[in-house]
Structure formats: structure tokens, C-alpha cells
Subunit: 257 residues, 2 copies
DNA sequence: GGGTATTTGTCCGTATGTATT
DNA sequence: AAATACATACGGACAAATACC
């Protein structure tokens, strides 16, 4: 009837954390101390801590101890912008007060379209695409990775800056409009959540057991004929990112919390 | 140098799963068999399986065995609709082919505004609000929970159907327009991801160790004066839900995958 | 830099409980 | 009722990471 001991221990510690009896950043008692305190074996105490770890309440540091996690101040990204003038293609992060956003130079590759890229751009699977990949940091913390795919035909028709490893200012949307007459009149964002792979866990400094997941947002941009002209795939760790969607008339937001 | 044994075992099994050598739904060898196969102790094999479990690749069933998880066919919800005519207030699920959506009768309560509700509705903390709560199933599977908050003043001014535990057809948006002259001209969705609490894990049949997280979407609706008129908080398990945001002109979507 | 104490990580063996078939 | 398979719990040993002197 009674729940297992490791759960009871975890519940007891959880209550202490929720009630701020143990404050964020504070160190818990060591496994040996908890073992004596609860009259359990060290492995049972470790099971309790393991549970709290996957719940995202504590984190363990070898050689140091177990600590209550400090919640990361989340970064909020607006998904709805004017598709014709605003960023609208790549998803840009909007920095809050005193936040410093740093984007890496794009890493440009010519690739064959994977099935999902081909479907989004409505081109043949295996045909060539330009891939532009960027990483973004905020205040020194890795925040997002994004890759934008363009049909290779754009380059052949004259948009050769797409294959240069530099930022395109004032933006690829207006560059493609100027060069090829392609106007982006809208985009669709498809939002999913999944566990990170090893590369992503490494870049974002996430635990490799997948307990912190990622938003994966597929943004397909459409030109004036309704044809897909670009696909941007962005990933953001869910522990430090939130999103806003505005529909219709919405008053300005003053972020207080 | 070498990674720990339980990781190597997990990696070996993971590779078999990714390569479809072990297909979704298929049973893995038992812990005892794996123990002999890898020449490790049962506890070490269990550590490997535990890792795969938090990665969401396998699930264990006492008395039966360990199985490769079957990926759930995700349900896609459109977040951008016409705020004046469409649902726009409550978030409605759009059913795919042959999917049966069932919404429970709303559970109506009068509550005091929590700080976050008060802030969203721009009313005083602790003032009274009407809370309408609904649960939704698709094809018999629990899919989402949502609670909408209205200022209690709406009821006093005549919108007394808000406190009846029935569906308001054709929708609360048009009901409030007819009754109080409040027209919703826009809304803002704020999208977060967090771990479920015990109640939510129970309703959605999620493991209580928090490895499946929830979208939590705060939708604030605004009337013609730019004043918040409603707050809808919805939660959706991330393992079975995705979202779409359309901006500008976007061609119709035919869902193929 | 080295050495030592502390703390968590890995791995083992064993016993017993619980859920399912 | 019996067999099977995972879940819980204990105790012990050594490794690895970190901090401190």
C-alpha cells in the first residue's frame, strides 16, 4: 500500500524544495548524511535523487554534491511578425533588457534534400539545396541553433550570396526580393518538441539523458505565388525558451515577470 | 577513456532500435538474457534500460517485459485563427481523418485570481473569477486539459451562462459579444514547456517521473478597447501534440506525414 | 604541482516484492 | 497455483571528479 521508500524520500525532499526550505542553488545533504537521516541504504537515497533529477528539481555534481536547480530566466521569442518587412524568414531572437545576443557566422553547405526538406520546399528528394546553419548565444549561454534551406536554383539564377559564409544584411528576405523578385508573403511555423541528439546536448550543455527536451520549429516561407521559398529549422532548449504568438489586434506587451 | 558499461549497452540497444532491427512495439530480451549477453550484472543492464527509458525509446511493463515504444501519431492544433469569428478563445482541437474528439462538460468554479491570472486579466489579485475547466480526449486517449478564466464582473453584468456547467454554443466569444457587447479583436498565445504535476500525469497516463513534458499555452483574449477579457490556460503532452502558426498568406496544408 | 579528503558515479551480488501471464 | 519479468532495497567495493591544503 505504502509507496516505495525512495519515492517517500523524494517526496520529502521535493516538499522541502517547493516550500523554499531548500532554496535554489543550495546544496542538499550528502548521500551519506541522507542515508543516515532516512535510515535507508545509499542506493535507495540515490534512487530518490535520481527521480528528483529527472523531474528537473535537483542536479548532481561529482565531487561537489547535489544542488537545487536554479531556474533559468527564460528567453521569449515572438513567432508572429510582419512577413514582408520583418525577419520572418530566419527566426530572430529578441533580446530583453541587458541581454547580449551573439550569432555565429553562418556555416554554408550544399546538400541533397532529405525527404522532409524536399517535402517542405516541394522539390524532388535528393535535389540540391543550400543549407545555412547558425548558432546563437545569449549572455554567453548557448540558446538556439537554426538551419535554413534554399533551393539550389536560387543560386544559379543569381542569388550567389546565399553560398557565402557571411551574414546577409539587411536580411535574406529582402535580398531575394531584390535579386530574384521573390517576395515572401507569408510563412507557416510547425512546432514540435523532441529529445536532443548528442550534438545538440553537447552544444546546449544539456544532460545527455534527454530529460531536457527541445522545441523544433519548422518555418516554411512562401512567395507571392504560394510556392515554398525557404525552410528554416530551429531548435531551442525548452528549459530556457518560450514563444509568443499574436493574432489580430493585441496591445503591446510589457514583460513584468 | 571508455564510457561506462551501462552506456555502451544502452548505445548498442539504441542503435538496434534506430536501425529498426528492433521494431516499435517489439519486446526486448529480458534483463536476465541481456545480462548474459553483455556479461554484465543485472543492475548494470537495468541502468542501461533506465537510460533508454528516460530517453523515451523503451518502456518497461512489470511481469511482461521491456518494449520499444510505439510513437504516437501526433495531433496538430492550429494556433492562428480569425479572432473575431473563429474559436479564438478556447483553443479547439482540429481532428484529422477519422479522429473522434470528445470534450467533457465544463467544470465551473468561482475562484480567487492567482497572481498570474490577475496579471493576465489586469485585475486585482484575489478578486473573483469564473473558471471553466474542460478535458478533451481524442480516439479515447486523453489529449488536453484547459481552463478559461473570466472576470466575475461579466456574470454580474448579465453573462450568467458563464457559471452554468454546459457548453456555450455557438461559443463564448459570440455569447459575450451578444450579451455584453464585448468583441474579441485579438489574442496572444504564450507558449511554455514544463513537467507535469501528479494530477496531470495521472490524467494523461504519463509516467510520474516527468520524462514526458507538457506544453502550457496561455491565451489572453482582448476586447475592442484592448482590455484582456479572458485567459485560457491549456496543457498538452508534448509526446502527442504539435502546433501550427500561420502568418501572412499561407497556402492550404495537406497533411501527408 | 601533489596529496588527501570528500562526494558522486559505476558495478557487483543478493534477496524479496509485485504485476502479469 | 506456478512461472516469469520487472521493481525495490540492501550492502560492499572501487573509480572519477572536485576542492582544499
Amino acid at each position: 500500500m505504502a509507496s516505495p521508500m525512495y519515492r517517500q524520500i523524494a517526496e520529502d525532499l521535493r516538499a522541502q524544495i517547493e516550500s523554499k526550505e531548500l532554496s535554489p542553488g543550495q546544496q542538499l545533504r550528502t548521500e551519506l548524511e541522507l542515508r543516515e537521516h532516512y535510515g535507508a541504504s545509499r542506493n535507495t537515497v540515490r534512487d530518490a535523487i535520481k527521480l528528483l533529477t529527472t523531474l528537473g528539481l535537483v542536479e548532481t555534481k561529482p565531487g561537489q554534491g547535489t544542488f537545487v536547480v536554479r531556474k533559468i530566466d527564460p528567453h521569449v521569442t515572438m513567432l508572429t511578425t510582419d512577413p514582408k518587412t520583418g525577419p520572418g524568414g530566419d527566426i530572430t531572437q529578441h533580446s530583453g533588457v541587458g541581454q547580449v545576443v551573439i550569432s555565429s557566422d553562418p556555416q554554408v553547405e550544399i546538400q541533397k534534400a532529405t525527404p522532409s526538406v524536399a517535402e517542405a520546399l516541394r522539390i524532388a528528394e535528393g535535389s540540391q539545396v543550400v543549407s545555412r546553419h547558425q548558432k546563437r548565444h545569449i549572455d554567453g549561454t548557448p540558446w538556439s541553433m537554426q538551419t535554413t534551406f534554399y533551393p539550389m536554383g536560387f543560386v544559379l539564377k543569381g542569388a550567389d550570396r546565399l553560398i557565402q559564409a557571411d551574414d546577409i544584411v539587411p536580411g535574406t528576405v529582402s535580398y531575394l526580393a531584390d535579386t530574384l523578385g521573390l517576395r515572401q508573403i507569408g510563412y507557416r511555423d510547425w512546432i514540435k518538441v523532441r529529445t536532443p541528439d548528442a550534438t545538440e546536448a553537447n552544444f546546449f550543455n544539456l544532460p545527455l539523458d534527454g530529460r531536457v527536451s527541445l522545441y523544433e520549429i519548422f518555418r516554411t516561407g512562401f512567395d507571392q505565388t504560394g510556392t515554398p521559398m525557404r525552410l528554416t529549422v530551429s531548435v531551442y532548449p525548452t528549459d530556457r525558451n518560450q514563444f509568443i504568438v499574436n493574432v489580430g489586434d493585441v496591445p503591446n506587451l510589457n514583460i513584468t515577470s
